[in-house]
Amino acid sequence: MGAIEVSNLQRTFDGGVTAVDGVDLEVAAGEIYAFLGPNGAGKTTTVRMLTTLLRPSGGSARVAGFDVVSESADVRRSIGVALQEAALDPLMTGRELIRLQATLHALAPADGRARAESLLRRVDLLDAADRRVGTYSGGMRRRLDLASALVHEPRVLFLDEPTTGLDPVSRKAIWEEVTKLNDGGTTVFLTTQYLEEADQLADRVGIIAGGKIVAEGTPASLKAEVGKPRLEVRLSEGRAESCNEVLARFGRLLPGKDETLAIELAAGASGIAPVVRALDEAGIMVEALELHEPTLDDVFVIKTGYHIEGDDPAGADAEAVEKTER
């Protein structure tokens, strides 16, 4: 039994806007699953349904073994949630917020206080703990949000766009924390619009567009679907023929552009060294060597016809409607 089981999940808003149009997925316990897609694709709506904040219009979902509609209270006991808008109270201090969260999860006062301290230390917010959240930077707020989602040591953690708007250093910090959590056994369901995030963190990725999953699999398998890494070689002087002979030993020759020769390099980055050695032995002078790996964006473009970074043209309305309905 998976930690998250979703079957034909749907959500339509008043006015006929369909934000989620029949999503099926399964996340095994201990997995990190990333929902990758542009703005408006239906990621947030799906997360809100899985965290019992929104009622599905159709289909079903089970989280931690409980049905999100009929056993919602049990779901809430088992999940940790860090939502997109980092819903923190600017007038509370960090410490007060985590303690409140602890109370909301029925931790006894003494336990709650202890947990709050250890979590604050863990996300490096001990120094700022007594300052009002309103004075925190974006990165600090996200860390606090993450810490408060962990107060009750949930089995399943939902993160909605955890690093959107953060600088690279803060982003790395969040990634490290998520990985550590996952090493400890927590299942993580995260949504993101960043390829690198899905690529780096996730065991499996579900690519969503227009309210539907258009591709699913491990980052590697998804990329392999659209092609193999391509090694491009630019020579400093002639000798294209001999170069091609050498390269052909390592992979299929591909049509190159202008002065560039190219081969398909199945081994990817680890296969570069032998190629360089061979070219060197043959006395061929190389000006530049570039490896192009297919990206998840390439997968996206192939499946949907447009790029991830940017907005889902079909779905931009859906998430806007949801915001106004609330």
Partner: protein
């Protein structure tokens, strides 16, 4: 969730509500400054009214007005609490609470506890103001306790209406827009002037307005004596308001959960 834990949750949310008001001093203005200002102005401006035939026997117009100011405070406290709840909804803080394993009603209950505490504090404030500026509270310390109790209940009752509006609209500016309505309800009652001396149609409406009875119950200990009938009518008025508010709030919450 066990009853003890539920109470703890309500207490924590209530503590937060109180802290919010103190940490945003501007929120204190409608709670204390407005009503005190109005009390001072109306006492000075209409003070000679006690000479009008038909005006109840009082030590001074100030003594008469004190109860009106206190109840005005509770109405505004309900409005302010509603605004705070609406802001929570707008910023998504309420989602944080909804995603936690707490019973839904504790979200409103916590807010109301906060409003009740603020109600009690404003009652104490006005008692102190009253004594400082020469009011004579006929029924003494017992009267003061009764006033504080009634005002606290009143804040809770009107808080539930504010919460209902917040839940239904999800918008702080809608709740803010109810501000003038508070004064309508006050004018159409015996909060600022004796019921018999109001002009029609306000006079008739005041007779039907539960607020009049609530104000009378708070006024008695100051200018008159404990009156069982008035007290019961006052509590009845509170019960009507509270039932109305809690029902609306529950319906609004249910609708919000259904729609998302």
């Amino acid at each position: 969730m066990s009853p003890a834990t539920t109470l703890r949750v309500i207490g924590s949310l209530g503590a937060r509500a109180v802290k919010q008001t103190f940490r945003r001093p501007q929120l204190m203005a409608p709670l204390l400054i407005f009503p005190t200002l109005l009390l001072a102005i109306q006492t000075g401006g209409a003070g000679r009214a006690i000479d009008l035939p038909g005006f109840p026997v009082v030590n001074g117009f100030f003594d008469f007005m004190l109860a009106g100011a206190m109840i005005q405070s509770t109405l505004l406290a309900g409005n302010t609490g509603g605004i705070a709840l609406a802001v929570d909804i707008e910023t998504g803080f309420t989602d944080r609470l909804l995603a936690a394993p707490i019973p839904r009603f504790t979200i409103v209950a916590g807010r109301l506890v906060g409003t009740a505490v603020l109600g009690a504090l404003t009652a104490v404030w006005f008692v102190v103001i009253g004594l400082l500026f020469g009011a004579e509270i006929n029924e003494g310390p017992l009267g003061v306790l009764a006033m504080i109790g009634l005002v606290t209940l009143s804040a809770t009752a009107f808080g539930s209406i504010g919460a209902a509006i917040a839940l239904r609209s999800g918008s702080a500016s809608v709740v803010q827009g109810m501000f003038p309505l508070v004064f309508v309800i006050l004018f159409l009652s015996s909060a600022f002037f004796p019921q018999e001396l109001l002009l029609e149609p306000a006079r008739t409406i005041a007779e039907l307005n539960p607020l009049s009875y609530i104000v009378e119950a708070v006024r008695d200990p100051v200018i008159g004596a404990f009156d069982a009938t008035n007290l019961l009518e006052g509590l009845g008025g509170l019960a009507i308001v509270a039932t109305f508010g809690v029902t609306l709030a529950a319906l609004a919450m249910r609708r919000r959960l259904r729609i998302g």
